[in-house]
Symmetry: C2
């Protein structure tokens, strides 16, 4: 065994730095082998010289070579292994050495160890319903990859619905030591493992709403690791399964705007945790309606500005707020139709207290790119609270020093009000929190950009809220300041509503409404920032909320209507032009995400969906070489010599410039030998011009002050930075020019699937449904698993982040695609849940998925035992909540569904649905349902 | 021409980032060539396919290939060029394109441009006396390389002794706007260019001591760049020759402990600036006796701790302080015997005000590794002062707000007192300012280490001061606090002097003296820190200073005597052991720098020098494969399994450990399968143990507190971190184990040369002198230029930083070797200066350097004209202060010296010396002396 270690850690500090770990390598096989620990004898070996076994080398880089002479008869083969491990402590190396000396059959032991690891991974995958059998093996393999990467991002629930009392108690203690202390008897008295449902009822009986709050958001997740692009230097990934003392560890960590995606797909297999995920989500949103940067098992995180780190920055990533919360809410409504209504009035939710302070509306209007202040004093107070009592110190507190609690309704209203506070009617939601609303590639739109994408999703969110509170009659309790904000917002929306007929409203009116809405939000923020919380609760009539939602919907529908382009596509982002008391809206080029969002909004009909998709296939967004869609059209950009050109008359018009050019001072503008005027090559943006002018002030005095305004105007005229969108405008990598961003394509796929089912549910004509089905598969055909490795430039069955113009797909697994496609796959199989009941409606499933041959399906049951099912010909199989579902296509048999129970036989039905109670058995992974068999006919399937 | 540009800068921030520069490539030659801008056709080309000219590519990495078909007749050749340039603005690219279109003979123009650059560099090199002709071409080429790298590090004086009034005025303004303002008339009235000597007298006439101070330290240096190891990520190098508006720029920047070395060698060719360099040096030292981190044209810099940067750290690099200042002082005494005495009483020097605060003696004794506090409030005040009035804000001010001025004598005393404040008699100078005293590789000695190296150099410094003030009779003015410190130090030294007979003193006495000296320094520091300056001046009798110096010399000589090892080598560093009221001294292994320092100290005789060097060649420090010396012996280190072993009885003796091991808790100690106990592999040093114990406190309660002390003792017993020296102890790269550090070898060379001349001067016997000469060349033989490229692993004539054990020499030019060898080379040529007069004493020169053939010597005269001299056979030539010196070996002729004058003929003399006035003409580069010819006989040269 080669042992590679440093004599000491590598450090330049004046302190000792022991290095007590080693890397090890050993070999098996190759009788009479000699081992080299360095590459120093390689040249000799190449020249045929004899090799001497090396036993010790120092002061050089290590290596491990094995050398032996072999006679391999023709057709025969020889096998050997080289086994390496890293970061082994001395005790581990000694144990390894001991094992190598004593183990009788090392080969066998290694093979056994590999098998054990395979099995462990397979069990995790099985718990996420990764295994399926269909005639289209690339489809099921791709599904496995999607589940794998979804779990690798968001993690998986540890052990069915079992909760470890130890982890629960540690978690409560970590968040709130006082709550832990007063419930320590209860927590210590819990059995080592208990059912999650049991826990919820036991905790309720404790009548400690703070404990309840913590248990509602408790997520026993393991195997997760952080999200992020591995090519960025700050992203380091690790799956932590053990704590420092070697004990099993539950852990997760993810960017807020990523991890809830993965949990959405995950809860489809663990539906009982949906409301816990919702609680985790809303408990982490702020009083001003935004959210932290990162969610971890240990609590929330936010970005902190570090003047030494050019990548560091602060601000709120407003994207995903509305739609991802909504998707979770919808899931809950489908699986558990009564739970949200119960939580709506229950004050067991919290506010995150992030030390960001969004400036006043006046300031936002002044400089919409510099809007968020880091409140260092507050940050210090928060740190003290955390040190004093635990991670709950990062939440807003009430006057008694407890975590301030509000209802779910309040938590659902606040982010909506925050978005409405930035509503530019006919334009979109003004993005002014220093970070992009939606995708990174357009991050530079922040400040001047208006997000129609967010507005499209708000439509669906408002419709959902309307239905959720439709039957609420009694008054609800809201924080006083939220209620006032609601009132002010409502009155702004009410007053503009009559003006929203056909056609656009005037720029003056648009500004006035923006101002009214913005002042409502701005005043609210000022109050709650000053108080660092709320002044109390008031009663609120649900009618007022309903009225506000209705008026908001009108403004939104008006805005959607005017954002339909002549070609039938919809605007994704617009530019806001502020000019005294006018708010203008300028459009940008079309983008894929605008179409995805409008298709998800519920605003357009099934027929329009079809024609929009047809237009998309015809548009410049389509990339025929990949049969798929870019985020936006590729564009020709001005060449090196064409950019940065200033017209002579513009130079002459500014006396300072004229003088400087005449004097040959090229620190602002220079003239090249061909006579063209250009700004200094040192200026990256107008702030560099600003700094240069400051530096020149001592030489040019008053002239600088006189010219400054005109110079900035000229600079903007030359570069048009107001319309600068970010990477999407001038870069090629990542989501840059010509790139396909696969997450967006899979979002499109899901949106089409939603529209397909919506069309069927609403009784649309067969032709439209069939057309939507075809379009669904036309889009799906563009996704990697349908391609050859040469076409895709990567492993086709794996999901990837993006495909740049001139290279293969990049960054395996690093994509939200995995979440979308876990959901679309269940949709393809016709798995639907409504009002707590399961319905199998395989109207999007294609007959080609049914295998001609009999096959076998292996799955892991909820008790942790591997099982095999013999599938007949013309069948396919998958699991859901770890229960196997077998579809058989049989034109002669009577269609129907058979439930196979654990102990008491089976139950047959003509109906392809489960009762609510049977559905609950499935969702709760009770083990009562052992298998679900469906007999189908071709007319159940997609007809084309 | 290929133009390679980005469409936009690469940034993830939400702001535009223009990229307005391009890289360009063009080709000449190859008729009918086609050009490829990418590598995409390469595979096709390799397969013999036709290549299409590319004109535009985007979204990919660029490339530049030229393709043409050629028929080259046998023996004929074809030539072409590919010319590339980077970071060109649009105007530059347009100009380049225009030039390519219009230029008639591009080849010729390129050749002309290259010649011009060559000439420019040659002129800089000539000004540094880089050109020599000798029969040993490797010697003169190596000398050229040394001058080149010396200039590339420290820069060169811009234009003989000419000073640009513009740069001077800007410099004064940069440092002190008020001083500039009140002298603006004078500064603006200066001629554009003036002689430096003229400037000094004109400034004196202004009678503004602050202006005088600034002009004394003014250095018109150009072509310098910062020092540092290019493999460290924070080191970026640039030679700045123009400011942002393209105007000529004088600039230098260097680590304090590097740049003065280069200036020492540089002033040998520009002696009139020696005192300016001394002023720059002493003006930058602090009240507490240390120095800033970096010297730049813009002022001083210090390190600031950045919690995010693991490499950042603060502290005083105490090394080089004494010896480099002393070398400059000695130069001044040799060239200008009266100047230092004049400055001794002139209050035109300043103190740097670095916001570091060295802790009290009590604290130093408590934790000698954590001793320097960054005073943030002071740092802010300094920043404000700089903003208000200029870079002089970084200096100590008096009560009226002016820069506080003191005499040279005070500036020379303070660093000595600071070192004496840490004197451990018989041990060395205690290193307790968080940074190493001398070389980086031993940086971890800081805290427990004692530097004998510094003590050896202090001996020479004290001897110099004694001579410098020997004839001072009148009282001198010192700052009151310095005078008190001097008094306290003197009384401590006086009281210990009687005890310093033969043999060592007791640990108690050693501690008592350290405490007395340390308290004197500590009390002084406390006062001047509190006052942020001094309370006034007092008169000081020179006798008291002389008495203190005498007593200090006795303590030092005693310390040197007891640090002679049995083998005749001298200790370099020792370890301090503090134990209540005792100070123990433990020795370490021998190191090369101890021998270099003791050889430079003046403490040992010529004969002992010879035997010390003989011992060194026999010692483990000698590396026979490189015929040279490592910094310390290579050592066998404990293997991976041998380190970190704890005896069982030591585990059992600590109840907490016994319990943890029994319970299988391996967070502090674990037992491996073979039964060995080891500390956790996570512990890099005792602070990790400390943190782990803190973390365990909640579980183990009181047991932790009980065990803590014993655990740290056990940890130290296992790892012996007190004796940890740094890289020298366990690393192999840089100055690590087995490395030769060439700067130290060249220091040894210089030390031997000094001893050689000292022996001759003191009339030592011929045999000893000859033996020293042989030893000199024996050491010189180990230096690269005597080796083959294979032996050296690098270009032999270039100087390199170090040669690790298992690789060739590393880091060309990045070595102080260049400075030592510029000086040794002039010594080899016998160039000596005493009492302001030049003496040619080529007693170390070897006859082999005289060429057998007649040759030609090209040099640049002080007027900037290239000149050629025809050298006869048996001659060699070099320049000094840009005046050519020709040695001719002629056994038949009468030895003598001929001065060739510019206008009025020549002057012959039998004496191989110049008069003081002729020496001054040479030093001042007046042009009066056109050439110096010497006729020598073999008995002038080294006889062996």
């Amino acid at each position: 065994m080669g042992v590679y270690s440093l004599y000491s850690g590598i450090s330049d500090r004046a302190e000792p730095c022991e290095s007590l770990k080693a890397n090890t390598v050993f070999a098996t096989g190759l009788e009479g082998r000699r081992v080299l620990l360095s590459s120093e004898q390689l040249d000799a070996f190449r020249e045929g010289a004899d090799i001497e076994q090396e036993t010790h080398r120092r002061g050089i880089r290590g290596a491990y070579f094995v050398c032996a002479s072999l006679d391999v008869p023709s057709g025969d083969s020889e096998q050997w292994r080289i086994v390496a491990d890293v970061e082994q402590s001395q005790a581990m190396v000694v144990a390894q050495r001991d094992w190598l000396r004593k183990e009788q059959d090392i080969e066998d032991a290694i093979a056994g160890s590999i098998d054990m690891c395979d099995d462990e991974l397979a069990r995790i995958m099985a718990a996420g319903d990764a295994f399926q059998v269909s005639a289209e093996e690339e489809v099921t393999t791709h599904h496995y990859a999607n589940v794998l990467f979804n779990v690798l991002r968001g993690g998986i629930f540890d052990d069915q619905y079992h909760v470890s009392a130890r982890d629960l108690s540690q978690t409560v203690r970590h968040f709130n030591r006082r709550v832990h202390a007063r419930n320590s008897e209860f927590l210590e008295g819990l059995p080592d493992t208990l059912e999650f449902s049991q826990l919820v009822s036991m905790v309720r009986a404790q009548q400690d709403p703070q404990l309840e709050r913590l248990c509602y958001e408790y997520l026993p997740i393991t195997f997760g690791r952080r999200h992020g692009d591995p090519s960025r230097p700050w992203n380091r990934f690790a799956i932590q399964l053990k704590d420092e003392s070697g004990a099993r560890l539950l852990s997760y960590q993810g960017n807020w705007r990523d991890i809830f995606q993965n949990w959405e797909a995950l809860t489809f297999s663990y539906p009982e945790y949906i409301e816990s995920v919702i609680a985790k989500f809303v408990n982490a949103s702020t009083m001003d309606g935004y959210n932290p940067y990162r969610i971890t098992k240990k609590g929330i995180d936010w970005e902190v500005e570090d003047p030494e780190d050019p990548w560091s920055y602060i601000g709120y990533w407003g994207d995903h707020q509305i739609i991802y919360l909504l998707k979770l809410l919808e899931l809950s409504e489908h699986f558990h139709p009564t739970r949200l209504s119960q939580l709506l009035r229950q004050p067991v939710f919290s506010y995150a207290n992030i030390p960001y302070r969004i400036k006043s509306l006046e300031d936002l209007l002044q400089n919409p790119k510099d809007t968020v202040v880091y409140d260092h004093a507050l940050a210090e107070r928060i740190e003290e609270r955390v040190a004093d009592n635990g991670a709950d110190g990062k939440l807003v507190h009430d006057r008694s020093g407890d975590v301030y609690r509000v209802t779910l309704l309040e938590k659902l209203l606040v982010p909506l009000l925050a978005k409405l506070g930035n509503l530019v009617i006919g334009g979109g939601i003004w993005m002014n929190t220093q970070r992009p609303e939606w995708n990174d590639a357009n991050n530079a739109l922040v400040g001047h950009g208006l997000s129609m994408v967010t507005l499209y999703y708000m439509r669906r969110y408002i419709r959902f809220l309307q239905q959720l509170i439709a039957s609420q009659e009694e008054t609800v309790e809201l924080s006083r300041e939220v209620s006032e904000w609601l009132g002010d917002t409502a009155s702004a929306l009410e007053s503009v509503r009559p003006l929203l007929g056909n056609g656009t409203i005037s720029p003056e009116q648009r500004f006035e409404t923006l101002q009214e809405l913005g002042l409502a939000a701005s005043g609210y923020r000022e109050t709650v920032y000053r108080q660092e919380g709320f002044s109390g609760k008031v009663k609120q009539s649900p009618d007022a909320i309903r009225k506000m939602l209705d008026d908001a919907l009108v403004a939104i529908d008006h805005s959607i209507a005017v954002n339909r382009r002549i070609d039938g596509l919809y605007n994704a982002y617009n530019l806001l032009g502020l000019d005294a008391d006018k708010a203008h809206v300028d459009t940008l080029y079309p983008m894929l995400e605008g179409q995805v969002a409008v298709l998800s909004s519920g605003a357009i009909s099934a027929r329009e969906t079809c024609s929009l998709l047809d237009t998309l296939f015809e548009s410049e967004i389509y990339r025929s070489d990949q049969h798929s869609f870019m985020l936006y059209p590729d564009r020709t950009l001005p060449g090196f010599f064409d950019k940065n050109r200033i017209a002579e008359q513009d130079v002459v018009a500014i006396p300072l410039l004229a003088r400087m050019v005449a004097e040959g001072d090229d620190r602002v503008v220079s003239q090249d030998v061909e006579g063209n005027y250009r700004f200094s090559a040192e200026f990256r943006n107008s702030s560099d011009l600003d700094r240069r002018l400051d530096a020149l002030a001592s030489e040019y005095g008053e002239e600088i002050a006189t010219a400054r305004g005109d110079l900035f105007k000229l600079y903007e005229k030359v570069f048009n930075h107001r319309a600068f969108t970010g990477r999407s405008g001038a870069m090629f990598g990542f989501e840059g020019l010509g790139s396909i961003y696969w997450h967006m394509v899979s979002k499109l796929l899901l949106a089409i699937q939603e529209n397909f089912f919506a069309a069927r549910d609403s009784g649309a004509d067969e032709e439209t449904c069939s057309r939507l089905g075809s379009l669904y598969y036309a889009v799906r055909d563009g996704i990697g698993f349908n391609k050859t490795p040469a076409e895709y430039g990567a492993f086709p069955t794996d999901p990837y982040s993006h495909t740049p113009k001139h290279a293969g797909a990049q960054q395996p697994g690093m994509t939200g695609q995995v979440k979308e496609e876990v959901l679309t796959r269940f949709g393809e199989l016709g798995v639907r849940v409504r009002d707590g009941a399961v319905h199998f409606e395989p109207g999007l499933l294609r007959a080609v998925e049914f295998s001609r041959e009999a096959r076998s399906f292996r799955y892991l049951d909820v008790n942790g035992d591997w099982q095999d099912i013999d599938l007949p010909a013309a069948a396919l199989a998958f699991t859901w909540c770890q229960v196997p579902v077998v579809y058989q296509l049989d034109e002669k048999a009577t269609p129907g569904l058979t439930l196979v129970f654990e102990y008491d036989g089976m139950e047959e039905s003509r109906n392809l649905s489960l009762s609510e109670s049977m559905s609950a058995e499935l969702f709760q992974r009770s083990g009562r349902i052992r298998q679900i068999n469906l007999t189908l006919r071709a007319d159940h399937l997609l007809t084309n």
